[in-house]
Symmetry: C2
């Protein structure tokens, strides 16, 4: 029998274990042209919260009583498709299942000898691409500029800061614990880090850490942290809006200061994005990231949780900030 | 004696007549290299509200007890500068004075025979440039897309809509009276117009007028009108943020729904701008606007108020929506 995790109900506010349902189904049978895949690593990501709701978005909502999907690294354990052989490792957005079949169309082959497999869900996967393309395509950093990153110790944020440093920026990170802020400066090369939970006046702390003002704000969190950063932006600042984890679980539309006046006064560009907007740039970006990784210019942190049964809890823990860097479940 | 209008005090909330002070000074004497200018037309614009405050912005605040400045068309009535002769017409950002001297450096010569002089404060001046460059550089309209314009009957808005039509868009305007909405469809070629003051559910009205969703939202007003438009945007929509007249007079920071989630879900680009960001594109833009004007593809409305003493009241009337199109004071 094959374990599968379904969307049981759409969360109201913060997701809970009840929103997920475990079932067992017959082990799938491989048809001609298909491969049978064994799940090795599952990526859990804040953006999945959006797909659990019924609101229209850039990807369709998950269907009730159907498997949740996310980034997965799997091994080919049976192949009736000439493009794949048993023992190949592949990456794709797939269902939360121990085993599943695929026609191979959306599978990306990954090289387990070039880097640890889990890295293809992180710094050499969607996480790294999101950081690199959001920062370079929207943030357009120039050497000497000041970059502020919120959710800086998260999977994307920790990569954004390192790339900002490689490109010559002064980089300031916002995170929610002293452990995280210490890691930002000691491990990821941030010039300064602010614990927004223990700092009374975050706006003043940013002003202090960014004496020349903020040229780029890579926003992973939204909410009042972003208000504090936007109060410090320079003329012609750029704001890649990657996520808004601080408000994903709100049941009322979250209210905050209107930002149009700030945008006009400072000629600010603010752009929401998902990495799939930049598919054409993936090969070039992966090449650059791989090269930096091999040169030792990029490092990463993973929080690895073990066991298929723990996938939902690993996802829920994201909203408690329990991860450092990329949160991955190893099966 | 020469009449001058000074900033008397910084407005709190909505500006009032008390914020301005009339004085008389000696008629200025022209030095070598200078010209003496007689003010003919004065532009009053919502953005001046920002310069009356002390907050830092893209242009420095007006100083207390110094002349207010705005776009002015003047005639050279005395010249000790070889580049200008008596009878020349010029345009510049200058003080609210009946007469003033200039060294000629920032004066742009305008041709009174090619178009009525007031037009160089409007459709062939900052207003037209703001509409054209904001729409084309940020909005990037493609034929077949849907464009929504707020403040659509205003100076900039009425031009934006017409350019949108020329470029093949479906164009929907938001304005605050039936007189204005009628003008939008009958005079400026808008496909649909919504009176936001008498429409109970503006969001639904926009959805109805934009069955394919909104691809570009040219925002002149901010506030709850913008909330209603943003609820209808398509994936990859562009939002040039030109102004926020609805909140310029608020004394508290205006609150509203946070928009980061909307930006991320729909990969929206939102960009505040001032026309001076695009100085390099002015010549090309003026050429295009002049050509459309001469071909009869563009029309415009002016509200002309007569008399130097009425400049402050004309400015105050902008916030009551008393203007149709460009508000100009003729001296």
């Amino acid at each position: 029998m094959n374990k599968v995790i379904l969307l049981n109900k759409r969360p109201v506010g913060k997701p809970t274990a009840d929103d997920f349902k475990f079932i067992e189904e017959e082990t799938p049978v491989t048809q001609e042209g298909q491969v049978l895949l064994k799940t090795l690593y599952v990526s859990v990501d804040p953006y999945l919260r959006g797909r659990m709701s019924s609101a229209k978005s850039y990807t369709p909502p998950f269907e009730l009583n159907k498997p949740i999907q996310s980034g997965i690294i799997a091994e080919v354990i049976e192949s009736k498709n000439p493009n794949f052989k048993v023992g190949d490792f592949v990456s794709a957005i797939m269902g939360w299942k121990e085993l599943q079949v695929s026609d191979g169309k959306n599978l990306l082959r990954v090289d387990g000898s070039a880097a640890p497999l889990s890295v293809y869900l992180g710094i050499l996967g969607m996480t790294g691409l999101t950081a690199y393309l959001g920062l370079t395509e929207i943030g357009k950093p120039k050497a000497g500029e000041t970059l502020v990153v919120s959710g800086a110790a998260g999977a994307v944020g920790s990569v954004v800061g390192q790339i900002g440093k490689i490109l010559g920026c002064r980089v300031i990170g916002l995170a929610g614990s002293d452990e995280k802020t210490t890691m930002l400066t000691s491990k990821f090369g941030y010039d300064a880090a602010i614990n927004y939970k223990t700092t009374t006046d975050v706006q003043a702390a940013i002003a202090n850490a960014a004496p020349n003002g903020v040229d780029i704000y890579f926003d992973n969190v939204g909410g009042s942290i972003s208000d504090a950063v936007l109060a410090n932006v320079n003329q012609l600042a750029r704001v890649p809006v990657c996520g808004a984890i601080s408000v994903y679980n709100e049941t009322e539309v979250p209210m905050g200061p209107r930002i149009q006046t700030t945008l006009v006064k400072n000629s600010i560009l603010m752009q929401g994005f998902v990495v799939s907007n930049y598919v054409a740039k993936f090969p070039e970006a992966i090449k650059q990231l791989t090269s930096w990784l091999q040169e030792g210019k990029l490092t990463y942190t993973e929080t690895i949780v073990n066991g298929f049964d723990h996938i939902p809890q690993a996802f829920l823990d994201l909203f408690e900030g329990k991860n450092e860097g990329k949160m991955i479940v190893k099966i």
